[in-house]
């Protein structure tokens, strides 16, 4: 088992130096919010995360969940922890004040969410999904639905779930078969949903399911899907949970990781039909889901940061304690002294810091796009948000695989043994490149909607901004090498973009074939860009005699390491991209 401590210094550095938290709040109408308050919030959340949620992480992994006659029984201790979490008001961070939320900036909620996800990812999925359900109702539900459900979901008294996937409808949601029949003021829902995270549990008095289903007269395909609210318990006249609705969990999956997060098969309408209420207009369900996609995908990207951080902390503790070297005088030393262990720890540290920087910078674009004062500003930030989202989700979660792999590697043989806790992080991380759109889907989104559709304009703007950092680094004597390395990576980015724009039309397989390399290239480039900025900011602070010199000097080295060890991967990606789809598509299916 490993302890967890929130890396508050790095989180605060990113918020202050890369996001510009106080300016963001001032420019976007978060009047009462400033960095001082953010820091107080992070400190208190850090305590709850380390002391209450983190110790339950390994217990949840060992014990998992059980399906009994009452429904799904979560891991013992989770209910008490959840109540403490909800009573502390932590589920109300982002929601509007109208529904008793705190209305805090998305980027701060992201920073706080990192704590929950690091401390206990399986647990933290529950409030994360609830937040998604709250947003769906808040943005698209009628006033009545909002008043009925939102206050108790925001307070955490009730949790929420998202029911999209069916056995035959995963990535292809057009194939959804669940039916909704109008019946007076409500609908009767019948069908089966799978992979429903926290679909059932005993932690709260009610669970509010958001369900995609088809009306009888709905057009075929994606334009015929509607969104419904289906409570586990129907509400009585006073708005309290009363009669059990016709929905239940019929099975829970046995999984590689996140054992404490019940992944449910939900059955709707085994008897007379589950009572549901339409959200917004009929046949617009999928469009509504898409409005939440940026936040949901960035949320999973953040989980990648969080699990990498937890794995790094565990590996670091082990590397400092494990004595496997002998000095000349016969005394022993810890494995952290070995250069190759150093290489692994530095790779974990620098990648995690770059991932955190990108996750927070991406999250800040949600605030800037959502609250922009004029239209040009809004469009610019929305384009940046949409461009960064697949990179945040795809690149970060892919890299989190490598980090948790290294975490286990640092532990040597003990890493393969469950007791150290390293193996759990490795297994828990594995879902991240899969759910909320696989890596392949993120990469397709990046090359398709986010690049080809706007003729590469959004990427060109990003590349121009990166160029500014290249110039700033190159001007600085101490950062000339980093500047040169970032310039090479930037050129790789430019070349990849140009190649895609030139070749996508002639070769229909080109975009899909190069997409993951393309996405990874831009991930490393963004990482190098933000680590370059971090180095410049750290040096400025050091020159001014501000901040913690130990931390800032470490940041300089971490940025240098990223530039030397991770940034060159952009060149290998480019080389592959330039080869196009030929060897990928050449074999006939029979030749496999």
């Amino acid at each position: 088992m490993s302890d967890y401590k929130h890396p508050h210094q790095d989180a605060e550095f990113v918020l202050n130096e890369l996001v510009g938290f106080d300016d963001l709040c001032a420019a976007n109408g978060f009047d009462d919010i400033n960095f001082e308050l953010a820091s107080a919030i992070l400190t208190e959340a850090g305590k709850l995360g380390s002391e209450v949620l983190a110790p339950l992480n390994v217990i949840g992994d060992n014990q998992g969940v059980k399906l009994t006659e009452r429904g799904v029984e979560e891991t013992a201790g989770f209910k008490e922890a959840y109540q403490q979490f909800a009573e502390g008001g932590w589920s109300s961070l982002i929601a509007d004040e109208e529904y008793e939320g705190q209305g805090l900036p998305n980027v701060l909620c992201t920073a706080v969410n990192e704590i929950w996800q690091s401390a206990n990812m399986a647990f933290a999925l529950c409030p994360l999904l609830t937040q998604g359900a709250v947003e769906a109702i808040a943005h698209h539900g009628s006033e009545e639905l909002k008043q009925t459900y939102l206050p108790k979901m925001v307070s955490g008294e009730w949790t929420g779930t998202m029911n999209l996937t069916e056995p035959d409808a995963g990535t292809d949601l057009a194939a959804i078969k669940t039916r909704a029949i109008p019946n007076g003021d409500h609908y009767l829902i019948t069908g089966q949903k799978i992979f429903i995270t926290w679909g059932d549990h005993q932690m709260t008095d009610n669970t509010i399911h958001l369900v995609l289903a088809r009306l009888p007269d709905a057009p075929a395909g994606v334009k015929g899907i509607s969104l419904f609210v289906v409570p586990k318990f129907l509400l009585d006249a006073e708005g309290n949970p009363g009669v059990r609705n016709d929905v239940k969990c019929v099975s829970v999956e046995h999984k590689l990781g996140i054992h404490a997060s019940p992944t449910c098969v939900m059955s709707y309408g085994d008897k007379e039909g589950a009572i549901g209420y339409l959200v917004g207009e009929a046949n617009k369900g999928l469009a509504y889901m898409f409005t939440m996609m940026n936040c949901a995908r960035q949320g999973v990207g953040l989980q990648g940061v969080a699990i990498a951080e937890r794995s790094y902390q565990q590996a670091l503790d082990y590397a400092k304690e494990r004595l496997q070297g002998t000095n000349k005088d016969g005394s022993r030393f810890a494995i952290i002294k070995f250069p190759d262990v150093r290489r692994m720890l530095m790779q974990m540290k620098s990648a995690t810091e770059a991932m955190r920087a990108l996750a927070f910078v991406g999250a800040a674009e949600v605030d800037r796009a959502g609250r922009a004062q004029d239209e040009a500003d809004q469009r610019r930030h929305q384009a940046r948000l949409e461009l960064l989202t697949p990179i945040v989700k795809g690149w970060i979660t892919e890299l989190s695989q490598e980090i948790t792999y290294l975490g286990t590697q640092v532990n040597g043989g003990m890493g393969f043994i469950e007791e150290t806790g390293s193996a759990q992080h490795y297994r828990d991380a594995r879902i991240l490149t899969i759910y909320e759109g696989t890596t392949g889907i993120q990469a397709l989104d990046l090359v398709g909607r986010k690049t080809l559709l706007n003729k590469g304009e959004a990427l060109a703007e990003l590349l121009a901004e990166i160029e500014e950092t290249v110039v700033a680094l190159s001007k600085h004597e101490g950062f000339a090498e980093q500047g040169a390395a970032l310039r090479e990576a930037l050129e790789a980015g430019n070349n990849a973009r140009n190649w895609l724009l030139e070749n996508a039309a002639q070769d229909p397989a080109a975009a899909g074939a190069v997409s993951v390399h393309f996405m990874m290239l831009f991930g490393y480039l963004c990482g190098g860009w933000l680590m370059g900025q971090s180095a410049l900011r750290a040096q400025t602070l050091l020159d001014a005699g501000e901040g913690d010199p130990e931390y800032l000097k470490a940041k300089l080295v971490t940025a240098q390491f990223f530039s030397e060890h991770l940034l060159p991967r952009t060149k290998a990606s480019l080389e592959t991209i330039l080869k196009g789809s030929a060897s990928i598509m050449a074999l006939s299916e029979d030749q496999f």
Binding site: L37, A40, I41, T43, K47, G88, G89, W90, Q102, S331
Partner: protein
């Protein structure tokens, strides 16, 4: 009844303490600071007294530079009603602190003053006692239970060999031990509200106190690093080493 709680900003107990290179003091530059754990227990006790109806208002006071407002805000987030900061450049020694607090007590007239029994940085364990003496009020130190009983308070103390319960006439001074309570986690809405709670800033001059140091810090050094153990061949060798090297026999 009003309860006054004194709190101190100290180095966070999770942080590894570093000594300045010139051994003049502990290095506190850019180190994470926090509410002294014993003070946190004091705040928690006061808030519980308020929640139980025994207290009507909880006032929290801290002494130090502006940064100590962070710790006052933390106490306000935990449930205190208002704060007072006494602005000083340096952290004054215990007697000065007690004198400043005595003036605040004269102004505020609390029925009960609760302090941590000691701060984890200096470990002096004397401010509460000095305050009791300056004010000529009864004191119950190292409290592991505090019960208000009409115009008196029963304080159970952890003493060598067991527990001792004292009945003190109010107004009184109580200092907290570790087992008095388990402080709560601050709630998010309360952290937000804490920003808007009143916080007065005063100076020692406002209170008519002149700070005078009676002790001088000569040197701070880090504890010696523990040496690796050795295996001895015989009991005789062990006794020999205990006698002649460790000089404990």
């Amino acid at each position: 009844m009003k309860v006054l709680v004194a709190v101190k900003r100290v180095i966070d107990y999770n942080v590894k303490v570093r000594v300045k290179p010139d051994n003049s003091d502990v290095d506190l530059a850019n180190v994470k600071m926090a509410l002294n754990p014993f003070c946190e227990i004091a705040v928690e006790e006061a808030v519980r007294l308020k929640e139980s109806g025994a207290a009507s208002e909880v006032v929290v006071v801290s002494i130090g530079p502006k940064a100590c407002q962070e710790q006052i805000r933390t106490a306000l987030a935990l449930g205190a009603d208002r704060g007072i900061q006494i602005e000083t450049e340096e952290l004054p020694e215990s007697l000065n602190v007690a004198k400043l607090l005595a003036k605040v007590v004269e102004e505020e007239q609390p029925g009960l003053v609760i302090l941590g029994k000691q701060s984890i940085d200096a470990d002096n364990n004397q401010t509460g006692q000095m305050l009791g003496a300056l004010l000529n009020r009864p004191q119950g130190t190292f409290a592991s239970e505090v019960k208000i009983d009409g115009d008196s308070v029963n304080v159970t103390r952890e003493v060598d060999g067991g527990l001792q319960t004292l009945n003190l006439k109010l107004p009184a001074i109580v200092t907290t031990d570790l087992r008095l309570n388990e402080p709560r986690y601050a709630k998010l809405p309360d952290i937000m509200k804490a920003k808007r709670k009143p916080l007065d800033v005063k100076t020692p001059a406002d209170l008519g106190v002149e700070l005078k140091n009676h002790t001088r810090l000569l040197k701070v050094s880090a504890p010696a690093e523990r040496q690796a153990g050795i295996r001895v061949a015989s009991v005789d060798e062990l006794i020999d080493k205990l006698k002649n090297e460790a000089k404990v026999l």
